[in-house]
Every structure is written in C-alpha cells, then in structure tokens.
Amino acid sequence: MIKEMYREIILERYKNPVNAGVVEDADVVVKDYNPTCGDVVEIQIKFNNGVVKDIKFQGHGCAISQASTDILIDSVKNKKIGDVIRITSEEFLKTLGIELSPLRLKCALLGLKILKTAVYSYLGAGGEI
C-alpha cells in the first residue's frame, strides 16, 4: 500500500512541483487548510474569456497534499470554467491513480476543494463563464 501511494510521480512532484509559484495579476486567491495534517495550500488563478489562463499554487504539508495539487493544476490549465466545475472527486482520484485511506483522502482532495472554492468565488463576484 505504501509503495502504491508514494508512487514515483507523487514523490517527484512533492520534491519538484512544476506549478508552484505566484500569479501576479490573479483574479482570485483562495487558501485553505487541512487541520488534521496541517497542510496548507493557496491557489491563485487568472481567468480570460471563461478559461483558466494562468494558475499556480503555494503551500506546505504532506507529500500527498502538495503533489496532488500540483497534478490537479496540470489538468485544469486552459480549461473552460464550466469544465473545471464539473471535475468530481472520483474522477480526480482516478487521475491520481493512488489508493488512499479515509484520512489521507482529505490530503489528496484539499487542492480540488480550494480550486472549486476559487472558481465559485470568482463567479460569485461576477466573473464571466
């Protein structure tokens, strides 16, 4: 189980995330925590014509929370807002391709939770879809 969870891609993205950083002119910035683990993730997004134009994250925490956020961001870049909203937890977990215990699910889904919050708060503030 351990070997399956800490797959090469998880370790690689934890140590060297490709989507870490700051979006200078972000339309929306959302930060959230996973209190059991102490994971912290902040996602910053710039939209353009209803599409995710630029998206980055910063944070700290366990390998699962950080790597899964990094991988999530890969999958939503240049995607339409409508498609981002429709990503389900099940789908995303399939993309991750790792087996997780209930406690670790929270780590793996922290990024998705923040992404959704960010998109909805953008739309709530009058952002175009």
Binding site: M1, K3, Y6, L11, K15, C37, G61, C62, I64, R104
Partner: protein, 407 residues
C-alpha cells in the same frame, strides 16, 4: 524497576495487529491505553451501582454517590490536595476554560497582564487570548533557551505588578521539557500573582504534590493516565475556588433556587453542573490504584530510561532532527523529531504500515512550531507499557521512511 511484560498483559489493545504487525503504541501523550482493571471497574459500575448521584436516597444512588465522591478523595490524595479542592471536569482544556470564565474574565481588566510560554498547548493560550480580546488585558509569551528549556531570566524580567496570572505547562507536550514549577511558583507568588500549572503531561508520569509545587491551580486529564476520556481534574486552592463564580449553571450546583434568585452550592460542587461523569470518575479511581501500585517514581524512572534510549538511537539516524532538551533529567517521555525533507504526516503514515503509532502535525502548539521554524513534527511518547524493542522498531521504521522518500 517495572515488570513491563506483566504490565502489558493488562492492556488488551496491545495484542492488536495493525497491518499484520503487532501494534506498537508510541502516542500516550495524546491518550494512554487502558488496562483491564480500569475497563472492568466501569463495567462493574454499570452492572452493579449505576444511578444518578447526589439526588435520591435509595441504595443505588447512595452507592453511586459514594463511588463518585470516593474517586474525588482518591484524586485529592494522589496530588496531596483536599477533596473540596478537586473539581471534576471533562479534560485539561475544560479546566482552563473554567479558570477563564470563573476567574480571569470577571476579575482581570486593563492594565492586567497574563504570562504564558511559547511552548504551551493551545488549551493554555487561546483562553487567555479571549480574555485579552474581551477585557483588554496583555498577554506575554516567555521564550525558550537554545536547549529547549524555559527562559527563566525572561520570566523574571517580564513579571510585574500588573501580572495577575502566570500559566505554564509542567511538561511540554512537544519538547518534553520539564519546567521547574516549584521554583517558578516562588517567583510568581513573591509577585502576588496567581500560578496555574498545566499538568496534562506531568500528572500521569511523575509524583505530583500541589503543596510542594505551591501552585494555585493544576489541571489534568484522566485519559492520559489510563482512565477513560472525558474525565479530567481541576485542582484549585480552596481560598481561590471559594472566591470564584460558577462556570456552568443549572442542576446539582445549587443549594436553593427561588423565582427571585439562587444560592450556589459549596465548592467543589458549585463548579459541577448537571449529571456528572460517574463512570469516568470510577475509571479514574481505578487508574490511580493501578499507577500507585506500580509507584509513580518507578513510572518516571522507566520513562527516563526509554527517553534516554530513544534519544541515543534517534541521534544515530542520519537526516533526523530532534527537538527539545536532550537531557532526560529535564525531559518527560516525549521525543519530537523530523526526517529531513519528509512531512511528519508522511513519516507517521509510513510508520503505520509497520503497526507503529506516532503523532504527527502541529500538536496543538502552533506558536511553538513557528518558534522552532517548522510546520510540523512527528512525536514518539512513552508510558509504562513501552519497551526498548519498540523503540528499535521505530528506528527501523524510520529507515523505511527514508527508503520510500529515497533519502
């Protein structure tokens, strides 16, 4: 010396397998496991004596009352206090809230000051932040020395005529630091301030005498000392308790209620509203019997030996950073550490694969984490049932962690 093998037989949960491995429980600072003697005492209470205490005159009620009040006497004797100075609460956290509501909020106002330390558990920080917010009082944090001990010089310099409360942990739940509470008590009382001791990590592990320490309050939790969850104790010096207003109000804590008003019950019942946790008190009583049979000096010696051993072994592992004092004489059975480049939750998760239970995260001590320059750490903590072989298994597990993370 303890007969650990014999002690282990009293704890059914230690026979459990986790991921096909024998459970190695190194998280007693979070909560301890329970011996048969405690489990049986609760079962016996429900099978033989259950009734709502203090309320009726039939025999069962009399027995339940007796058991509950006997437990109070036993706790009192255990820490050398008077029974009326023992208030049953849910846990240390609730005890701190009781002091906040019944003492600090009504009595402290700007320019009053409260002193705590940077190594405190949130239970001994957040209530005083609330007093600061509501009453405009000041809250000062005493820092650490480089070796993880408390900076007493700073305490001496910070305490002043406005300081009304000094509230410190006896043993840090992260660093393991044993603070010299007797010495501090003198400093605090010479200044005319009140001294609160958070005993959550000390009462289960060493001989405690509230008169010897000289503190005004001592708070601790039953579940960290073999008893069930949700039974805790606030010791308060009689003179101080008598001056305090009730915490929660309602049933069982009054002498008389008329439509016009109310006369509070005497201490300690004045602070215990509603039906009490009798099974918890009964379990705590059995837990104290168990600990006293072993002897608190022996408990402390055993843990000192384990701590010394763990520190030696951990310091030999490359890429492991240890936090807190390295001298077991001033350290409880708590060893906090990090594996370089690996988050503590990943460490704990991989150790779990080998049946090893350690705590990870910020340990409800976020200001301390910040002071140490870390976000989290792993923690192994020991009790009467732990062995050196279990520490060896921990070390082996850490090598596996390093393998998984390719360190």
């Amino acid at each position: 010396m303890l007969n650990v093998e014999k002690i282990r037989e009293d704890f059914p949960i230690l026979k459990r397998k986790i991921n096909n491995r024998q459970l190695i429980f190194l998280d007693s600072a979070s909560t301890s496991q329970k011996p048969n003697q405690v489990i049986e005492s609760i079962k016996n209470y429900y099978e033989m004596h259950n009734a709502n205490p203090h309320r009726s005159i039939y025999q069962l009620c009399d027995e339940a009352t007796q058991l509950y009040e006997d437990a109070r006497k036993k706790v009192a004797k255990f820490i050398n206090a008077k029974p009326e100075e023992i208030v049953f609460v849910r846990n240390t956290n609730e005890a701190m809230n009781l002091i906040m509501h019944s003492f600090a909020l009504p009595k402290l106002h700007n320019p009053s000051e409260i002193i705590v330390s940077i190594m405190e558990h949130h239970a001994n920080i957040v209530p005083w932040q609330l007093v600061r917010k509501n009453n405009g009082t000041k809250l000062n944090f005493i820092d650490l020395n480089e070796d993880g001990t408390l900076n007493l010089e700073q305490l001496n310099n910070s305490i002043n005529r406005n300081t009304k409360i000094v509230s410190l942990t006896h043993v840090s739940n992260v660093l393991g630091t044993v603070n010299p509470v007797k010495e501090i008590s003198k400093i605090v009382h010479e200044n005319g301030s009140l001294f609160i001791v958070d005993g959550a990590q000390s009462v289960p592990h060493m001989t405690i005498d509230v008169h010897d320490i000289g503190c005004d309050f001592l708070a601790f939790s039953g579940h960290k000392m073999l008893a069930p969850m949700n039974i805790g104790v606030l010791y308060g010096r009689k003179e101080v308790l008598e001056e305090m207003e009730p915490f929660m109000v309602g049933g069982d804590m009054i002498k008389e209620v008329t439509t016009e008003g109310v006369i509070w019950n005497d201490i300690p019942w004045k602070f215990e509203a509603g039906t009490p946790n009798v099974e918890g008190a009964v379990g705590l009583s059995a837990a104290i019997d168990y600990l006293e049979k072993i002897g608190m000096e022996n408990v402390r010696e055993h843990e000192k030996e384990l701590t010394q051993y763990a520190l030696e072994k951990l310091s030999e592992v490359e890429d492991v950073q240890i936090y807190g004092p390295t001298n077991p004489e001033v350290k409880g059975g708590v060893v906090a550490f990090n594996v370089k480049g690996v988050h503590s939750h990943d460490v704990a998760y991989i150790l779990n694969d080998f049946g090893i239970a350690v705590r990870s995260g910020h340990h409800c001590a976020m200001p301390l984490m910040k002071r140490l320059g870390i976000q989290s750490c792993a923690r192994a903590s020991f009790y009467i049932y732990n062995t050196k072989e279990e520490i060896d298994a921990l070390i082996e597990g850490l090598e596996k962690v390093k393998m998984v993370f390719k360190l």
